[in-house]
C-alpha cells in the first residue's frame, strides 16, 4: 500500500526531560486523503507536526514522508511537504511578495509556475494589494494567508497545517477548505490539526485523536462512532475523558 506519511513508534520528550510530549505513536496517511488530527491542549499535536516537518529532532522511531526519511534524507522529505505552522513569527520586515519569492526559490519552483501560482492565490485571498507591503503591516489573518500561499506554491504531495482556521474570516476559511478539497482531488494529501470539530467532521476522510502524547483513536468518522449516531464532539469528549481518568 502506498503511504504519503508514515510515523513509526515515534517518541519525543523536550529538553531530554522525563515527561514524554509524544509517546510511541504510529500512524499512516494515504494519498488523496484529508486527515484531521485532534486532541486537547498540550496533547502533542504541534510536537508531532514539528517532528514530521523536521523542525524538532525525533528521540526514537522513524518518520517517512513520500518515501523519504525525515532524519536521513531531510531535503527530499521537506521538498514533498508544504507546512503552515501555528505561529506567524516570520520575517516581519520583508514584503509579502519577497517572502513568497524566497519560498519559491527554496522549493525550486520554476518561473512560470511561480507566477501562475502566486497570482492565483493572491487573487483568491484578495491579497494582491497587500503583497507589496511589509508583513509587519499585516493583520493576523493576512499573515496566515501569505503563509498558506507559500505552502502551496510547489504543489506539495503532503500539505501540513497546524490549526489553520484560527484568525481566518468566514470567507477565507471557506476558501481554504475548498482548497483542501481540491488538493486531495489532485491525489495529494492534507494533514491538519484543529480544535474546530465541525470542520473535522465535515472535511476529513479520517481522523486521529491524540491525548497525553498517545494516539487513542484513528479511523473514519463511522469507525469512530462504533455504534449509534454520536456527534464527533461527544466521541471526542468521551475518549479524552477516559484517557485522563486513567482506565483505558
Amino acid at each position: 500500500m502506498i503511504v504519503v506519511l508514515s510515523i513509526k513508534n515515534v517518541s519525543k520528550s523536550y529538553a531530554k526531560g522525563k515527561v514524554k510530549a509524544v509517546d510511541d505513536i504510529s500512524l499512516e496517511v494515504r494519498p488523496g486523503e484529508i486527515f484531521g488530527f485532534l486532541g486537547p491542549n498540550g496533547a502533542g499535536k504541534t510536537t508531532t507536526i514539528k517532528m514530521i516537518t523536521g523542525v524538532l529532532p525525533i528521540d526514537t522511531g522513524t518518520i517517512n514522508v513520500n518515501g523519504h526519511d525525515i532524519d536521513k534524507d531531510p531535503i527530499k522529505a521537506k521538498m514533498s511537504m508544504g507546512y503552515v505552522p501555528d505561529t506567524h513569527d516570520i520575517y516581519d520586515r520583508l514584503t509579502g511578495i519577497e517572502y513568497l519569492n524566497f519560498i519559491a526559490d527554496v522549493y525550486e519552483v520554476s518561473r512560470k509556475e511561480r507566477k501562475q501560482n502566486i497570482e492565483k492565490y493572491l487573487d483568491m485571498f484578495e491579497m494582491k494589494q497587500a503583497a507589496g507591503q511589509p508583513i509587519k503591516s499585516y493583520s493576523h489573518g493576512m499573515k496566515q494567508k501569505i503563509i498558506l500561499t507559500g505552502a502551496l506554491l510547489h504543489n506539495p504531495p503532503l500539505w501540513i497545517l497546524d490549526e489553520p482556521m484560527t484568525g481566518l474570516d468566514p470567507k477565507s476559511a471557506h476558501l481554504m477548505k475548498e482548497e483542501m478539497n481540491r488538493h486531495c482531488q489532485k491525489g495529494y494529501t492534507v494533514f491538519f490539526s484543529t480544535h474546530v470539530l465541525e470542520v473535522a467532521e465535515r472535511l476529513c476522510h479520517r481522523i486521529g485523536i491524540i491525548n497525553k502524547g498517545r494516539i487513542i483513536a484513528v479511523g473514519t468518522l463511522d469507525e469512530l462512532r462504533r455504534s449509534g449516531d454520536k456527534s464527533l464532539e461527544s466521541i471526542f469528549l468521551e475518549l479524552t475523558d477516559e484517557g485522563s481518568a486513567g482506565h483505558e
Binding site: Y14, A15, K16, G17, K18, V19, K50, T53, G54, V55, L56, P57, P74, I75, K76, K78, M79, Y83, P85, D89, I90, Y91, D92, R93, L94, T95, E98, N101, F102, I103, D105, V106, Y107, E108, Q133, P134, K136, S137
Partner: protein, 564 residues
C-alpha cells in the same frame, strides 16, 4: 546543474537574511509612504555621523601621534599592526556573542529548519550575516591607520586595493574561532538538561579563556638574555617591532607586511591571510554540516523541571514587579545575561590581573593607577580616582540602554498593564542600576586585593561611584526610552546591535568627563575634604533629580507615541 540550483537557493537565503536583518524593504516602504520618516532617518544619520565623527577624529589623532612615535623607531608601519590587532581582538572577543545570537538564538531557527535547505547553507548564510555586521568595526579601526601610513609613505592605488582586501579578510579568522567555539558549546548544551545555565556559564568561561589565552600569548617573553638585549634585538630587525607587537594576533603581522612591503613579499603575506581564512573555514563548515542543526533545534525546547515548584501568588509593589521582571528576563535569556552581566566579571578580572602575573602586571595603565594612588596617600584625590575607575566599569552596562528595546514585540504588554509609565521607567532604571552596582562591588573588591586598599577608602569610593552611576544609568534609560529598537529577529540585535547601547555609553563617558573636570577643578582649589565630598554629592543629586523629572515626562510621552 544541481550545484547551480543549490547555489541559487543559497543566494536567495542570503538575500532574505540581509534584507530582513538590515530592514531594507521596510525602510523603502517607510520612505515611500511617509516622507517624515525620511527626514527622521536623515536627522538620525546626521547625529550618528557627528557622534561617530568625533570618535573617528580622536582615534585618528591618536594614530597620527603613534605614527610619529613609530617613525622615530624606524617602523612607521607599526600603526597598521596596532589597528589590525585591535580590530581582530575586538571581533574575536565579542564575535562569540554575535555568532551565538545569530546562529543559535535567532527567532527564525524554527522556520528555517522546516525548509528544504542544507544545514551548512543556513550556517554559511548566518556566518556571512555576522561578518557583514563586523565590517563597520574593521573599517573604523583600519581606515585611519591605512590612510595615515599610506599618505606618509606616499603609497599608490595598489596599496589601497591591498588594504581593502586585507580589511575584507581581517574579521574572518576571529569569527571562525568564535564559530568553532560556539558550535562545540551548543553541541554540549543540546545534550544536557540545564540549557540556559550552561549557555551562560559556558560562554563566560569561553570569554575568559580567550582573554587569559591572549594574555599568555602576550606574555611570551624572551627565553634568554635581559630585557634590554631583547629590545635591542627587536629594534635591529626590520619588522622586529611589528612581529613583536603583532604576536597578540598573528594575522595583523601579515596585514602589516602585505601593506608595507611591495612585490613578492607583500603578495606572500597577503596570501597567508587569505589562505588561513579559507583553509580554517573548511573544517568549521564541515563540522557545522554535522552538528549545527541539532544545536539550533535544541534551543526551541524549553526545559521542564520535574521537581514541582510551588506556584506563588504573593503580590509585590508595581515597581518591584517591573524590577523583578527585568531581572528574570535578563537571567532567562542567555544573550541578555551575557551582555548585561559581563562587566560584573570582566571588571574584577582586569583589576585582579596583576595578581596572576603575566603581562598585564606590567601593564602601564595599571601601574600608573597604582602609583597615582600611592602618591596621594589618603587624600580625597585617591577616592576620586578610584571612584572614577569604578564608575567607568559600571557605566559599560548594556542592560540600561536596551531596556525598552528588549521588550521588542511584547511592548504592548507594558502599554496595556495598569501601571503608570513613570513607575515602569523607575522599575527598569532600578534594575539596570542594580547591575552597575553589582559591577562596582565586584570590581572594587578585586581592587581591594590587587591594590591593598583600606576599608575606609573602599567604602567611600563605592558610595561615591554609586552616586555617580545613578545619573549615568538614568541617561541610558532615557536614551532607550526615546527611541527603542523594537523590531528585531534575534535578541542579540536588541542588545548588541543596538545603537542606543553605544549612545548610552557615549553619554556615560561624557558625563564622566564632565565630572572628572569638575573634580579636578575642586582639587585645585584645595577645599577641605568634607566640603569637597558634599559638593560632589550635591551636584550628583541635582543631576539625578533633574534626570528623574525628565524621565518621568519622557515615559508618559513615549508610551503615547510608540506603536510597539
Amino acid at each position: 546543474m544541481k550545484e547551480v540550483l543549490a547555489m541559487s537557493k543559497f543566494l536567495s537565503l542570503l538575500k532574505l537574511q540581509i534584507n530582513s536583518r538590515f530592514g531594507l524593504s521596510m525602510a523603502r516602504y517607510n520612505f515611500r509612504n511617509d516622507k517624515k520618516e525620511l527626514w527622521k532617518a536623515a536627522g538620525l544619520t546626521f547625529i550618528i555621523v557627528i557622534a561617530l565623527g568625533q570618535v573617528v577624529f580622536l582615534y585618528s589623532y591618536i594614530m597620527q601621534r603613534l605614527y610619529m612615535a613609530a617613525q622615530l623607531l624606524n617602523s612607521p608601519q607599526l600603526i597598521l599592526t596596532m589597528g589590525a590587532s585591535a580590530a581582530g581582538l575586538l571581533i574575536l572577543f565579542f564575535g562569540i556573542f554575535y555568532i551565538l545570537g545569530a546562529l543559535f538564538l535567532a527567532r527564525d531557527t524554527e522556520f528555517l529548519a522546516s525548509l528544504p535547505l542544507k544545514q551548512n547553507s543556513i550556517f554559511l548564510s548566518k556566518f556571512i550575516l555576522v561578518l557583514l555586521g563586523e565590517y563597520p568595526i574593521a573599517l573604523f579601526l583600519m581606515l585611519p591607520p591605512v590612510i595615515i601610513y599610506g599618505a606618509g609613505a606616499q603609497k599608490g592605488i595598489l596599496y589601497y586595493i591591498t588594504a581593502l582586501i586585507c580589511i575584507l579578510f581581517l574579521p574572518i579568522v576571529p569569527l571562525i574561532i568564535s564559530s568553532l567555539l560556539s558550535l562545540c558549546l551548543m553541541h554540549i548544551v543540546s545534550r544536557s538538561k540545564r540549557r540556559d545555565l550552561i549557555i551562560i556559564v559556558g560562554s563566560i568561561i569561553l570569554f575568559l579563556a580567550l582573554f587569559v589565552g591572549q594574555n599568555l600569548l602576550l606574555s611570551r617573553m624572551p627565553e634568554s638574555g635581559t630585557e634590554m638585549e631583547f629590545l635591542l634585538e627587536i629594534l635591529q630587525r626590520s619588522d622586529g617591532l611589528v612581529e613583536w607587537s603583532g604576536r597578540i594576533f598573528p594575522p595583523s603581522v601579515w596585514i602589516t607586511k602585505a601593506l608595507s612591503h611591495t612585490g613578492a613579499e607583500a603578495l606572500k603575506n597577503l596570501g597567508y591571510l587569505v589562505l588561513l581564512s579559507v583553509v580554517s573555514f573548511i573544517p568549521v563548515w564541515l563540522l557545522a554540516s554535522l552538528i549545527y542543526q541539532r544545536g539550533a533545534s535544541a534551543q526551541l525546547e524549553a526545559e521542564k523541571r520535574t521537581i514541582k515548584r510551588k506556584l506563588t501568588y504573593k503580590g509585590s509593589s508595581p515597581i518591584m514587579v517591573i524590577f523583578k521582571n527585568e531581572w528574570k528576563m535578563i537571567l532567562r535569556t542567555p544573550v541578555y545575561a551575557l551582555n548585561s552581566l559581563i562587566g560584573i566579571i570582566v571588571g574584577p578580572v582586569i583589576m585582579a590581573m596583576p595578581l596572576f602575573g603575566g603581562s598585564f602586571a606590567q601593564d602601564p595603565d595599571l601601574q600608573a593607577i597604582s602609583s597615582l594612588i600611592d602618591q596621594f596617600g589618603s587624600s580625597p584625590a585617591q577616592v576620586l580616582i578610584l571612584s572614577g575607575i569604578l564608575v567607568l566599569f559600571g557605566s559599560f552596562n548594556a542592560a540600561v540602554s536596551s531596556t525598552y528595546s528588549r521588550e521588542g514585540k511584547s511592548l504592548w504588554i507594558l502599554k496595556s498593564i495598569p501601571v503608570k509609565p513613570q513607575t515602569q521607567a523607575a522599575g527598569k532604571l532600578l534594575a539596570g542600576y542594580s547591575i552597575s552596582l553589582l559591577c562596582v562591588i565586584t570590581t572594587s573588591l578585586a581592587m581591594v586585593f590587587a591594590l591593598r586598599l583600606s576599608f575606609g577608602l573602599w567604602l567611600s569610593s563605592v558610595v561615591l561611584s554609586a552616586a555617580a552611576l545613578f545619573p549615568i544609568c538614568l541617561s541610558g534609560t532615557l536614551i532607550d526610552l526615546i527611541r527603542p529598537k523594537l523590531h528585531w529577529n534575534n535578541p542579540t540585535e536588541a542588545i548588541k546591535q543596538n545603537f542606543n547601547v553605544v549612545l548610552g555609553m557615549l553619554a556615560g563617558v561624557i558625563i564622566i568627563m564632565v565630572l572628572v573636570a569638575l573634580c579636578y577643578g575642586f582639587l585645585q582649589l584645595q577645599m577641605s575634604p568634607v566640603f569637597l565630598y558634599g559638593l560632589v554629592v550635591l551636584i550628583l543629586a541635582a543631576l539625578s533629580w533633574a534626570g528623574i523629572s525628565i524621565l518621568r515626562k519622557a515615559a508618559v510621552r513615549a508610551y503615547r507615541r510608540l506603536e510597539g
